[in-house]
Amino acid sequence: MSLAIDCQGLIKRFGTYTAVQDVTFQIPQGAIMGFVGPNGAGKTTTIRMLCGVLVPSDGKATVLGFDVKSQPEDIKQRIGYMSQKFSLYDDLTVAENLAFYAGVYNLRGKEAAAQKDRVIERIGLGERTSQLVSSLSGGWKQRVALACALLHSPQLLVLDEPTAGVDPVSRRIFWDIIHQLAKEGMTILVSTHYMDEAASCDYLGFVFYGRLIAFGTPEEMKQREGKETLDDLFIYYVEREASEDPRNTKAGSGGAG
């Protein structure tokens, strides 16, 4: 099986501050990989490097066979990205947002129309296309954003805290779609704070102060540390790492991830 993401010793420094330190992992195509960790741990920075947006300070990573440093444009055309913030235009209708992102992914004419129909059908947006995004609820906005990210049939879908602040029902619907997409062969990289979401991933990575401190399938990881649930495991990691973290002894030096 070929690798969707191959990440070898990725490092990102902002001045003297190291946001991401020596992150190494591999995930095969069609897998769901979850990133968990506290806010500011470096999840978003790692994701942005893998999307070809941030240039790594050191290390090497290939995404879908393309190098993040030298071929970011090839990566951008083949991945779908949805961030924690709503990435839609409020004053545009659902259809206009879809049309804009179709254009941005260089889809035109018949192809664009066919892809729009496909995602509208798939996400169930049929009755909402003429509505302004500002009139939609959070859950629906999330689904429209997902639809926009799927327009160009990406091979890798990157979701940065996609369900933060979304109601449980919408969350369930959203994850049903994600699992369906993975079954069809799409690779998914997702960061989340919800342990139930993390449990349903094929692979998990715990990110802590810029380091990937544990990586594996959820079952493996629980067994390794002898914990019953992912919640327990998460809290165990946080407590173990926090006591070793130099910044907790040196007061007042924070940084963004």
Binding site: K76, Y81, K85, D91, A102, G103, N106
Partner: protein
């Protein structure tokens, strides 16, 4: 993959037009602000001194004194409509602002005029120096003319005919704006000021809005190139700029009757260059500002000095060197020279090439810096 994509560019362009159509505030700003400013400056900002309310104390009440008052009226500077008797009342008129000038004719005016020398006192409200200066010189001129007329009559009566010719006659001709209307001076300049204010603000808003909403972050992850995004976002404002420009031109010509003496195509061409410097300024503002409020404040920081230092109101020649230099840093300064040159003097590039060159330099440098900053923000 790195080629310019028309599909992506057109997607941005289409989206921008939808934004503008749905955003009533910017639509109003694009149409109502030029018209509003034009009417405001066309009517309110009038430095012409005309028809000042004037009060008269005619103690003489003779044919001569009435003749004098009507010749005061004929200067067009003063309207001697109110008659009083006594200094107290005059003071009252001037204090309250009901009159800006007072004419006091002595009781023996008629007699003195015939025999030796008559004295007429004119009091002027000097709060506004421009007004006071204009009135003073107008009445002095009047007095001089009157005296000359009377003197030659007297000489003629005495049988000396040569007395009617003056040894020195200064003929003045005012060129370019013969009626000396401040409207003719202000309205062409408004093209520059309005374009600058409206376009800089709208452009910076449109980009800052994407940052504020977080959509810029999303765009970074898509294959869109900064040039496609930049052109797609700026082109609508080039069009709005042209709409504003034609609106001002049409209103200026047909409503205020300010006809350009020179070539309109040249005016449009040079306005386009100016428009690009303004787009670049808007772009620069948007790369620094994080919110629309900041963008608005920065635009105002630009607007104030450009009204004061560009020569829009005050002549640059009389400013201290430092302020002149500061004014030289504003593209508007050069554009005002151009627009007034074309409108009032009707001159072409043979006289305007230096200002045009300066404007081109501004356009190239500002656009290069702004798009570089924009690109850096995007990467």
């Amino acid at each position: 993959m790195l080629r310019f994509s028309w599909t992506r560019f057109l997607a941005v362009l289409k989206k921008e037009f939808i934004h503008i159509r749905r955003d009533r505030a910017s639509l109003i700003m694009a149409v109502a602000m030029p018209l509003g400013m034009l009417l405001l400056f066309g009517y309110a900002v009038n430095t012409d001194v005309e028809h000042l309310p004037t009060v008269v104390w005619d103690q003489s009440q003779t044919q001569e004194s009435r003749d004098f008052v009507s010749s005061v009226r004929n200067t067009q500077y003063m309207d001697p409509d109110d008659y009083v008797s006594g200094y107290k009342q005059i003071e009252n008129y001037l204090d309250s602002g009901k009159a800006r000038a007072a004419v006091i004719i002595p009781p023996d005016f008629g007699k003195q005029l015939q025999e030796q020398q008559a004295t007429v006192q004119v009091l002027v409200d000097g709060s506004d120096p421009t007004v006071a200066r204009a009135v003073t010189s107008a009445v002095q001129m009047l007095g001089f003319d009157k005296s000359l007329q009377l003197q030659s009559q007297r000489l003629a009566a005495m049988g000396i005919s040569g007395g009617t010719t003056l040894p020195l006659d200064i003929e003045t001709r005012v060129w370019y704006n013969p009626d000396m209307k401040s409207r003719n001076f202000n309205i062409p300049a408004l093209i520059g000021l309005i374009l600058q204010n409206v376009i800089a603000m709208l452009t910076s808003f449109s980009i800052v809005r994407e940052k504020e909403r977080g959509t810029m972050e999303q765009l970074i992850v898509t294959p869109i190139r900064s040039l496609e995004l930049l052109l797609g976002k700026l082109l609508p404002f080039v069009l709005i700029g042209f709409v504003s420009l034609s609106l001002i031109l049409v209103t200026g010509i047909f409503w205020f009757g300010v006809m350009p003496m020179g070539s309109i195509p040249l005016l449009v061409l040079l306005s386009t260059i100016f428009l690009f410097t303004i787009l670049a300024i808007g772009l620069l503002i948007s790369s620094i500002a994080k919110t629309q409020l900041q963008a608005m404040q920065m635009t105002f920081i630009l607007i104030l000095p450009s009204i004061l230092l560009s020569g829009f109101v005050f002549p640059r020649e009389t400013m201290p060197k430092l302020l002149q230099l500061m004014g030289g840093l504003l593209p508007l300064t050069y554009f005002l020279e151009i627009v007034r040159g074309i409108f009032l003097k009707g001159v072409g590039l043979q006289f305007l090439w230096q200002d045009t060159l300066a404007l081109c330099l501004f356009a190239v440098i500002l656009l290069a810096v702004a798009s570089k900053k924009f690109k850096k923000n995007l990467d």
